[in-house]
């Protein structure tokens, strides 16, 4: 393509105008695909971080050891609550990730099937290894840590590659020109997500086991039931901006960190979990009222 007028003359006729419009649409599609590819790389990089944080939390909290050993006397919270505490934010993160992928214009064309299979396998490997070694087999920690670290290497490599692609990518969104508060449903859902994660965290360190279980099961059921509604994680992922994603990241890491602390601390568990629950809820509740960018396409 050169910078000369079209062959039909300085001003286009009917066919030339149609051709120009088609060419413009084709270029627009290519740009959209390029933006999607970058978004895909961003998702891959952050999900790798989320998976690695989850694996580390399972490892450090002792996973199954806590689940089986603690709370035997009925005076302490069971380790199952800690296990749920790690699992719930991870499921929320995967739900949000799925929603974000669905916002892509060309979700199926962005990544070749082989690459998608590689990312899935690299993510599943450390998850399976840590669950088998720590939860099922109760492998001694140094050995489990060593094997899990080795199993996480492919994911680390893929995450690094994705992060490098994001940095070097030649098409990106600039700072948004327009920002607006989230819609009422998304604002409420964001705040409720924060409060619910906070409640699960707060109850995990108490002896209110029935309330704790109901909160967790209720969360999981609600997440599935409202998935595709305007209250669901899919919709949230499409509407969130940097403030909301950062808040979720903070809450996610706080929950995982607290699961590790609760599994090991000699401090008063209810106090730690209730204070922790408030800290987990705060970022998302605040972020629910922060504006998010509006993109024109």
């Amino acid at each position: 393509m050169n910078d000369q007028s079209s062959a039909v003359g300085p001003q286009p006729g009917t066919d030339a105008a149609a051709e120009l419009l088609q060419a413009g649409d084709a270029v627009g599609d290519r740009v959209r695909a390029a933006i999607d590819a970058r978004t895909q790389a961003v998702i891959d990089a952050w999900m790798a971080v989320a998976v690695l944080a989850y694996v580390l939390a399972v490892m450090l909290s002792g996973g199954g050891r806590a689940a089986i050993g603690a709370g035997a006397g009925g005076t302490e919270p069971t380790g199952l609550a800690f296990a749920f505490l790690i699992l719930v934010p991870f499921l929320a993160a995967t739900g949000l990730e799925q929603g974000l992928r669905e916002t892509l214009h060309s979700a199926n064309r962005v990544r070749p099937r082989l690459h998608r299979a590689l990312v899935t396998a690299a993510s599943m490997l450390p998850l399976l290894v840590v669950l088998v070694l720590v939860v099922l087999w109760q492998t001694p920690r140094p050995l489990a840590l060593l094997i899990t670290t080795v199993s996480a290497v492919p994911l680390l490599v893929l995450a690094t590659q994705s992060a490098r692609r994001v940095r070097d990518w030649g098409v990106r969104r600039p700072s948004p020109a327009w920002r607006a508060p989230l819609g009422a449903a998304s604002m409420t859902a964001t705040a409720v997500l924060g409060l619910w994660l906070g409640a699960i965290t707060a109850l995990s360190g108490t002896t209110f086991m029935i309330a704790s279980s109901i909160t967790v099961i209720g969360f999981l059921f609600t997440m599935i039931l409202v998935r595709d509604s305007r209250w669901g994680l899919t919709r949230l992922a499409g509407e969130w901006g940097r403030a909301q994603w950062t808040a979720f990241g903070c809450s996610y890491l706080l929950v995982l960190g607290l699961a590790v602390v609760l599994a090991h601390t000699s401090w008063d568990l209810p106090t730690v979990s209730i204070v922790g629950g408030a800290c987990v809820a705060a970022p998302l509740v605040i972020a629910a009222f922060r504006p998010a960018p509006i993109w024109t396409a």
Partner: protein, 104 residues
Amino acid sequence: MNAHHPRHDLDDALLTPLRFSVMAALRADVEIDFATLRDLLETDDSALSKAISTLSAAGYLAVRKGFVGNRPRTWLTATSDGIAAMRIHVAALQAIAAGLPPAP
């Protein structure tokens, strides 16, 4: 002749296919670096430079120099004037393509 033919709304700065494609690529919410845009449009450096100079002189796109690591990058974005001009130009092309009669 009182009729207003849509060709009168065509923008001189957007009349070449390359300049039109550059503006079609630089939508309101996207920033593209020079090399990527060259590859997307399947053109060469000199033709793209010329098109960018013309569009930049018309105030339709903004050029920003930056670095990624140690490598210099030239980022291009459409200005609000450019987006508005493109909208009018596309509407005129659509009217011509549809073979609409001149407006009274």
